[in-house]
Symmetry: C2
Subunit: 393 residues, 2 copies
């Protein structure tokens, strides 16, 4: 999935400004979230995860000098990259695999990279790299006499914290797709089907809407497994039972940007008092946060609101209140008591309070929607109805 | 997904032997395929692909001295790792995220890593690293006076070339699951459904069999898009038409090991002569290769057999004949004319000859199954029937 060129230019321009303030002239990015940010290319699937196929690693090289001095992607010749939709960025591809004659992909990669960097090495240049740049790249630069590499991991992460309007538009569209997945879960959650079958309905509905495969992550658990906040491994072949609870934690990536939501459903027509207490506590915490959250606060301020609300129902927070999303599904700052980062317009958070019966219990509720911070407060991007809300049944 | 402990020990012991021949005492692996090889842990999904969540990068540290001196995984405290099934390897986890107090994940990671390495630094130790180890790790080791790091990327890749019996057993089981996906495609491929709907049947059948989500990659294309060998972007919402051809290229990972197969189906009851020619050429090439392939040959020898067979039908190879599979979906050696690597027992290949009408055409056939090289030849691991074979209809 790629973003359109104008949106790439949007984030590239912003990053160029930041790099100029650091006196960095050339930036090399290796971390997938930074490559996605600069290029709009978000590789699909673990088979691309740093695993060399035909070519070398995928990095993005960004020249910070002027907005027009050239934004460069350095990638390999794999068809999935060549076949990407047009990007308004200069792309340099290097030959790395052929059916008919041999290339050394690592050498091709380093040669292509240094050729571009050499264009600037005739004068004094500061090169920034992020933590994901392979060490062979760093070694190669050093062998060519490049010293004083600047670690720009933190600078890039800070730049990514405040989303641009075009990034927010992409996340908004992704939230719409995520809504469709959550609504499919409500529609198809019935006693007799397995967690896996339910999961397939969720994925299929979203992919049908988009007309393509999506990168989907998350968990779907039912029954007693929902009682505690840690439930790795779902969905399974467990068959949904009458009166079961079902929690769907659904993360979806569209055009390189993630959304991440959770809903708690109950298959029973008359939920128990305990169920309603957990749900009410999570919902009250969510609503209290949404009401308070806005510029001028810190992450810790926001977390405190949720903590106080949950404790009013007799619950302690079992996990964090939330985290930012963007080109990763989970990025800083997180909504935790020890993070004093300011809440600023353009931040996009997943807010996810939960209340759980705990060890020996049979129920828990986690509610998660995505919000964007505005000038005056926040706007909820997720529009699916909560599963236990009588009004939304 | 993880492998059982005995299987991890199998690959670990083999790698330890290789490292000893290189006088390497400690090996640090960062490439996902090597981490999976040493630990049995194969992270799911692109959201884990080098993206820092709670912790630092996942690396595996292997001590080469003796088989019992300690096999170590260094990872973070993310629940999906903690929740993995028991591994017969020593696991060192470091605290990296808490809801209540702050950690510096990078520092925790480096501290935990160097603590383990320091145990051996009191005497002369050679440390090997692969290309995927983050450069911050290398810098940190250098600051602690560690010099002469040995690049063991190639050594590890060579060790992984010949699969152990337990690895072959895992790939065999994965091939069985892949068969179920290919058979689902045959069963559900009907005019009127979309490529995406067909894809969902394929994935659902395989996941139902396993009882869990699988890492699945590949492509499903239909109609004129099959005429050329490059078809990125499928499956789409294209509706299958009567007489359509359908190509499913299906890659599945189970317990950290991949299989990769392709079948070509035709929805028409009476395929055209041109269709049958393409299919017959691909099938003849596949069968000629299977008949010849065995120890004593080189990759180039095997490729030549396919090339000659295809040319007998008037086709030129449009892509490579195949590649090894293992902890990556595509690893060396590949079956290309310029690779003189010997074919050895224990290698596992995806053999994938194809014949295509080409530009302006409306049909192509690609046939791909996985084989393991034996002492006397090869054994086909994939058991699904070819789509155009009259006998298998």
């Amino acid at each position: 999935m790629t973003r359109g060129g104008s949106i790439v230019r949007d984030t590239v321009r912003k990053l160029q400004q930041v790099l100029r303030t650091q006196q960095v002239d050339v930036a090399i990015f290796g971390r997938p979230e930074n490559v996605a940010y600069v290029t709009g290319i978000a590789p699909e699937g673990p088979e691309w995860a740093g695993v060399a196929m035909a070519g070398g690693p995928m990095t993005a090289v960004l020249f910070a000098e002027t907005a027009d001095s050239g934004e460069l992607i350095l990638a390999n010749t794999e068809e999935w990259i060549v076949g990407q939709r047009e990007l308004h960025v200069l792309r340099k591809l290097y030959p790395a695999f052929s059916n008919d004659h041999a290339y050394d992909p690592q050498k091709q990669y380093i040669d292509a990279l240094t050729k571009e960097v050499n264009r600037l090495l005739s004068r004094s240049v500061r090169i920034g790299i992020d933590d994901g740049v392979p060490h062979m790249v760093v070694e190669s630069l050093r062998r060519r006499g490049v010293d004083g590499l600047v670690n720009i991991t933190e600078v890039a992460a800070r730049c990514r914290r405040i989303k641009t309007p075009s990034e927010i538009a992409l996340i908004r569209e992704c939230a719409r797709i995520n809504d469709i997945g959550q609504q499919a879960c409500r529609s198809f959650a019935k006693p007799g089907i397995t967690e896996l079958e339910l999961w397939h309905h969720v994925v299929q509905r979203m992919e049908d809407e988009v007309g393509a495969r999506l990168t989907v992550s998350g968990e779907l658990v039912s029954g007693p497994r929902t009682a505690k906040p840690n439930y790795p491994g779902g969905p399974t072949t467990r068959i949904l039972q009458p009166a079961d609870t079902v929690i769907l934690d659904l993360s979806v990536r569209l055009s390189g940007y993630w959304t991440d939501t959770t809903n708690t459903l109950v298959l029973s027509a008359s939920p128990s008092t305990s169920l309603i207490t957990c749900f009410s506590a999570a919902k009250a915490a969510f609503e209290a946060v949404i009401k308070e959250l806005g510029p001028g606060q810190t992450c810790a301020d926001v977390e405190k609101v949720a903590r106080q609300t949950l404790s009013g129902f007799g619950f302690l927070p079992q996990h964090y209140l939330g985290h930012q999303i963007g080109t990763t599904v989970n990025e800083l700052p997180r909504l935790v008591s020890y993070d004093s980062s300011p809440i600023e317009p353009g931040m996009v958070f997943a807010i996810e309070p939960g209340a759980y019966e705990g060890e020996g219990g049979s129920f828990g509720a986690r509610l998660e929607k995505n919000i964007v911070v505005t000038e005056t407060g926040c706007e909820i991007l997720s529009n699916f109805p909560w599963g236990l809300d009588p009004a939304s049944k």
